[in-house]
Amino acid sequence: MSFLNKIGVIPNDESIFSSEDQTTENESTSIIQKLTRRTFIKSAGLASSSLVIGMQFSTLNAADKKDSAFSPDVFISMEKDGTVTIISHRSEMGQGIRSSLPLLVADEMECDWNRVKVKQAIGDAKYGSQNTDGSRSVRHFYYRLKEAGATARTLLQNAAAIIWKVKPDQVSIYNHQAKLKNSSQVLDFSQLVEIASGLPLPKKPSLKLKTEAEHRYVGKDNMKNIDGKEIVTGKAVYGYDVELKNMKYSVIARPPVLFGKVKSYDASETLKVPGVIKVVELPSLSPPAVFRMLGGLAIIAENTWAAIQGREKLKIEWEHGSNASYNTKAYEENFKQALIDPPHIVRNRGDWDKAKQAADKVITHDYYVGGIAHATMEPPAATAIVSDKGVDVWTCTQTPQSAQGNAMGVMKIPKEKAETVRINVTLLGGGFGRKSKPDYVAEAVFLANETKMPIKVLWTREDEIKHGYYHSPSYQSLSASFDKKGQVTGWYHGMVNHPIGATFNPAAKQAGSAELGQGDMPYDIPNIKITNGESDTFLRIGWVRSVTNINNAFAVSSFVDEMAVANKVDSKDYLLALIGKDQHIDLAKDGFKYSNYGENFDDFPIDTARFKNVINIVAKNSGWGKKLPRGHGLGIAVHRSFCTYVATVVLVSSSNKQVSSSNSQASSSKNKITVEKVYYAVDAGKIINPDRVRSQMEGAAIFSISNAFYGEITADGGIVEQSNFHDYELARIGQAPEVNVEIVASDAAPAGIGEPGVPPFSPALCNAIFNATGKRYRRLPLNQYGIV
């Protein structure tokens, strides 16, 4: 219990809901629900809760009466002393969501933020999607959470009206208090909670949501991270830090090649290591990989060190299987072949082939971006107990419901008994997409069940680098055709990579995803052809922060810069001209069924005016066009991803000065690139927490420096060649530039922030390097050229 309190997880040993619960169903999308006091005390362990507001989102299980009637997604509860508890149902991995969403609720409810507590939800379908991925927490929950807050505020307003015997419009609610109009009388929320808890819920149409101007916390700059103090004192609990009574520690020797198997092993030396308890074989894996265990041999020990030592002493003969044929460098030739006549045309406008034939000039360039590992500072970790009461897991997961499903798969627990598998979500020491793939949860549950002991599975750094779900390497070919006046007449973009789809379906061959920055490029060109080639897949491929936007944006925005240079036009002016008139781009006209990050086009159009606006802002802030010292250069790129528009200008210098980094190769005599400064202009629509928007952009720049300078996972014989930070390097503090961020004030629907800062960085960087040095780099990472 003390541990549960420490990480703010709600114990879930009793059913949350009973038939006593009152429900009001609205015509529209959400059902606001008020639970009785007794039920909530039972469910949430809050001894003196009186008012509990829940929301249910009809997108989930709308047809399932039981769930839709009684399953709230988000709780607001208030104790008798007025303390408000807001449930965070999304995972915190550094993006600040545990601060930002509760802030939105508290603001709408007119809470005093100092009297708000945040509790982390367990994994449960009743919350709707908890998959904290795709930069969508705010995009999906902004209005729904405002409605929840407004419902609670209205109940409190109605309660005060009853006490004062006036109409509700004579009562205003401000900062945890009700105030009577034309009077000095006030009532604290603590004085209203009992009465409010007995009132009928207001109908949704009667709710008055606060305007932007009325927000007191939302959009303000000085809001502190709610976990800040725990973090700086070392008290914050991550997946790696979970400690249970009698818990044992496990590290696993996984097959070096994907789908490899243990042929034989000798654990005699392992078992001699003091502290090693036993060695357990995990079931071997056959395709598809999905989020299942990789197999191998687990060392169970009294501490992590003993487990690591035991693993080193293990003698294993592996049967590598067919993926041992894979060599990343050699496979580039297959990629090139795959782009000769790619079978998948994803977007087609006019007639590219004709435009090319009729052209006065055609330029063609190929781009290659290496595979990338997530390299979260906290490697994956999960702790599990299996008992007659079910399965309890504590883990750093972006997607507790997938983790739950994975655990159920291991234990063969049917769907109707999902509540017996409780996924408690800790803080995540970085996510970037890795922790939405809960293979490590399956391992912990399997081992806890086999050994009948509480087991913590810890991935070492070597495990994390060698057994990841990688961003695929990619090969791309782009061409543009021009008429005699230099006007662009055609655009061709072919792309091939190992598809993420192969992780889920071994037959998947089509490179993907054109949805992410390839098919949706915004340039207004009369003839467009965009294609994908096919490829086999030999490693687990997954999504890494911004996914294939990483490589697509690099190629598209590098190539556009090359077009500008070829036409002797300023890069910024060329971008603006190529985007053309103000319009909402209709990709369906070009035969491209674009999914738009799952959003509708009314709220989230592809709006060329917003592209141009961020370009103009970033150009102004960066002093675009100014004269720079010798060896310096500015580069620009613009990209829309996750429905957010980001323009980036990077300032670099090229010199032979020593960079303050343990990464720099002293042996190379070449000039080195320094990223001096980065400018971002970001239009994400409405935002909640500007400080966290800025921090995500700062982080995106530095994440992208790591990608662009060093990011390359390679395999030989199907075995990943990198293993730790000496051969999979990350940017260090001496390489971190100052990052200037301007957030566009916007009334548009809230979009996404976690990922959109990544895609435009690498092309802006390489465009800047071109302007500083005259050299164009079309392959990432840049360390292969000796310039970083």
Partner: protein, 154 residues
């Protein structure tokens, strides 16, 4: 038996003398504020102070810490009131926060030796601490602010 002095308290441990201090702290003494990131002294997440010096606990055998004064993040201050912690909170430095205890211990050690570090001093002293979230610009600002805070206190 190995006897260690950690945050002013004596601890007797029945562990192999080769066990890195990090695992003794985390798994045996249950002080989990010092983090694992690489196990090879490459990332700095495990940084503690040994007699005031920033040290990577993941590659330091417990036997080498005997008789020394070990300070972990849990012992850096009474109530998050070390100037470095204050500056970290004031500037909202942390994103995921995982590497930050190591960053803070390295920064505190730097300020012990250099009360007014330049950007270059900071870049050199902090080069061993990785942050994947990319909080480096704020770390630099926070160290300058902490230095100012510490000078004002004195």
């Amino acid at each position: 038996m190995i006897e260690l002095s950690i945050n002013g308290s004596k601890h007797k441990l029945d562990v192999s003398p080769e066990m890195p201090l990090l695992w003794a702290l985390r798994d045996v003494i249950k002080l989990t504020g010092s983090k694992y990131g690489c196990g090879k002294g490459l990332c700095g997440s495990c940084t503690v102070h040994i007699d005031g010096q920033a040290t990577r606990s993941c590659v330091l055998p417990v036997s080498a810490a005997v008789g020394k004064k070990i300070t972990t993040i849990e012992g850096l201050s009474e109530n998050a009131d070390h100037p470095v912690q204050k500056a970290w909170l004031d500037l909202n430095v942390a994103q995921c926060g995982y590497c930050q205890t190591g960053q803070i211990m390295s920064a505190a050690s730097l300020l012990n030796e250099n009360q007014n570090p330049t950007d270059d001093d900071i870049n050199t002293a902090m080069a061993g601490n990785l942050c994947r979230c990319g909080t480096y610009p704020r770390i630099r600002s926070a160290i300058h602010q902490a230095a100012k805070l510490a000078r004002e206190v004195k």
